[in-house]
């Protein structure tokens, strides 16, 4: 990572308790503009809780969040979205029955005033949608094509393009590749690469080491609510990452019995 850059978001010693359960026990992560920061961890490691804290869904029990160097307290997700932190969920992002253009501008509809009435500016919406899709390498039949006809990877790409268009500075991708085939995954990873090159910070949550290594600049592994440190690209092998995620020794033993296929 380029050291002159200041981190856009700093999570310092974040703790989150749900009643007697300690979901996060002091996690620190910095994210820089233009980097793809991979957050790895097995199920139950605290990945979801951590990104929900980052996107304003949860408030940390202890710890500090600095956004562009200033302490931030997000009361709800809208605060985070307005600050420029966008989350793309694996599901629940697109509405299959609606057109790509209507989906793209859902909640941010452009309006054109005719007389006293504000009309939905379909012409503008359609043009922008076609343009943005072209940039991302998706050829639409037309802006009125229903999202339901797109593949899972293309839907993720539309959601990412939408977040970028509406000014996201930090893009949180919650397991965008977990339900996709090989080719679609490659498309989404290529999209992540394009977005990163525009100077947007990408937080990429996954439990697939190969997907992480394909695009990641830095890797943070969460295990049982704690971080085991952040590694730079090139300083860590896939095997080491896999071990960190699973918690070390048990995995070695398991891998031996499975003949090294995991």
């Amino acid at each position: 990572m380029n050291p002159e850059h200041a981190p856009i978001i700093q999570m310092k010693n974040i703790e989150k308790h749900f009643g007697s359960v300690i979901a996060l026990a002091g996690v620190s992560v910095d994210v820089f503009p233009g980097e793809c920061h991979c957050l790895l961890g097995d199920n139950g490691a605290g990945k979801s809780t951590f990104i929900k804290t980052m996107s304003g869904v949860h408030q940390p029990t202890h710890g500090e969040i600095l956004f562009e160097g200033k302490p931030m307290h997000f009361a709800d997700p809208r605060d985070a979205i307005e600050a420029g932190i966008a989350t793309v969920h694996q599901h629940l992002a697109m509405i299959p029955l609606m057109s790509v253009s209507r989906n793209f501008f859902m909640g941010n509809e452009p309006v054109k005033k005719i007389g006293p009435i504000n009309f939905f500016d379909h012409e503008y919406a359609n043009n922008v949608t076609m343009e943005e899709m072209k940039k991302m390498g998706i050829n639409l039949r037309g802006p009125d094509q229903a999202v339901g006809t797109l593949s899972g990877g293309e839907r993720q790409t539309v959601a990412i393009a939408r977040a970028v268009h509406f000014g996201a500075k930090v893009l949180i991708l919650d397991e965008p590749t977990s339900a996709l085939g090989v080719r679609q995954t490659a498309n989404v990873l290529a999209t992540i690469d394009k977005v990163r090159k525009q100077g947007i910070a990408v937080v990429f949550i996954t439990h697939n080491v190969r997907h992480a290594l394909a695009v990641g600049d830095r890797f943070t592994v969460l295990n049982r609510g704690k971080t085991l440190g952040t590694a730079q690209r090139g300083q860590i092998t896939p095997e080491e990452l896999q071990d960190l995620m699973a918690g070390g020794q048990e995995m070695v033993a398991l891998e031996g019995s499975l003949g090294g296929t995991v």
Partner: protein, 374 residues
């Protein structure tokens, strides 16, 4: 692996192959348009001489269709927003009864009775919506409860107050009122008089109305239907709010994630449905001059059927106001047309069941094309 290899070969090529015919199929109005053409062809062939297509006959089925259209507009937008209202019929009875009680029994000015009734109906619609949102219960159950609650009051109140279930005399008290003609009046009377004088439409041969045309104007009921259809269509397809209606019904959670005020949208649509039911009620009370406890029975289902024939999905997120209007037109034309054609009227129900089933199957098929499900 198999799936992705398949996608690689099918991806863009497949999308571009969709034929124009298939593209034309993916329109919610398709069923309504085909149905309308079929129905008119049928009756033009088999009932042309029955008087169905002279001025009086056309006014007859137009009025019936307009009634269906008024309640279908509200039901359509609500269904696209992902909810049902089964209390529409009871609301028609209730609103009509409240106007009669306010204006006749309590002797309020008719304009005040109408305005207070609209306010009450829309408050009840908002309550319906609020309960659905707050409890997370299906709107089917919540509004089914209101179907019985409102009908119960519609029978109970006039019995307690007037010791009867029909309150008449609204016409007399509405005489000279400024608001009542908006619902019970007629427009273009001059034009119809001229058409009658010119011999285009028939005139009365004798009696007190001798020389007047048999159809003496367009009832405000039809004007309301047209205004509501245009309003609903523009709202749904041309405005920001319309996008929110689609989004709320398509996937409420995804819509919320994108910042759409789903709860507000749904509650407003419940209020619009109640508004439409009340427009129907006021027009009916002004026409008949009375309110009856049994008015509006089964109207909720007729509204939903018209909407479904018009191409809306029962699961929400997809549909068209124009389609719903065509569904209502089919409904009205067939109901009255069978009467003109001299067909036993009970067969109308058989027809209704068959066309409803056909429409739902067609809609499901169209949905599969759109979403790519198999």
């Amino acid at each position: 692996m198999g799936e992705s290899a398949q996608n690689a070969t099918l991806n863009d090529e497949r999308i571009k192959e969709i034929s124009p015919l298939r593209k034309a199929l993916i329109r919610p109005e398709l069923g309504g348009m085909v149905g309308t053409v079929a129905v008119f062809t049928f009756f033009l062939l088999f009932a042309f001489d029955s008087g169905m297509f002279n001025a009086q006959g056309m006014m007859n089925w137009s009025v019936v269709s307009a009634q269906f259209m008024i309640i279908a507009v509200g039901a359509c937008l609500l269904m696209i927003a992902g909810e049902f209202d089964l209390s529409v019929g009871s609301m028609i009875g209730f609103s009509g009864m409240m106007i009669a009680i306010f204006s006749v029994t309590l002797a309020w000015p008719v304009w005040m009775a109408i305005i207070v009734t609209f306010a009450m109906a829309m408050a009840i619609g908002a309550l319906n919506g609020w309960i659905v949102i707050r409890t997370g219960l299906p709107s089917f159950i919540v509004t089914l409860a209101f179907l019985f609650i409102l009908r119960g009051f519609t029978i109970f109140l006039p019995q307690v107050i007037e010791r009867k279930t029909i309150i008449g005399g609204v016409k007399d008290v509405a005489e000279g009122d400024w608001l009542a003609p908006i619902f019970g009046g007629k427009i273009l009377q001059g034009l119809f008089q001229w058409l009658g004088d010119a011999g285009v439409i028939a005139v009365f041969e004798r009696g007190t109305r001798q020389g007047q045309p048999v159809v003496d104007g367009i009832p405000m009921l039809i004007v309301w239907a047209i205004v509501l259809i245009i309003f609903g269509h523009v709202l749904l397809t041309k405005t920001k709010f319309g996008n929110w209606i689609y989004a709320s019904g398509g996937d409420a959670e995804a819509a919320r994630n994108s910042g759409v005020p789903v709860n507000k949208v749904k509650i407003l649509m419940f209020m619009l449905t109640a508004f439409c039911a009340t427009v129907f009620a006021v027009c009916q009370v002004m026409e008949f001059g009375s309110a009856g406890a049994d008015r509006g029975l089964l109207k909720e289902f007729e509204a939903i059927i018209a909407v479904v024939i018009g191409g809306a999905l029962l699961t929400g997120g997809y549909g068209s106001v124009l389609g719903a209007a065509l569904g209502a037109l089919i409904f009205g034309v067939v109901q009255q047309g069978l009467f003109f054609a001299g067909v036993e009227s009970s067969l109308f129900r058989v027809f209704l069941g068959v066309i409803l089933l056909g429409a739902v199957i067609l809609n499901t098929y169209i949905r599969r094309i759109i979403t790519g499900e198999r």
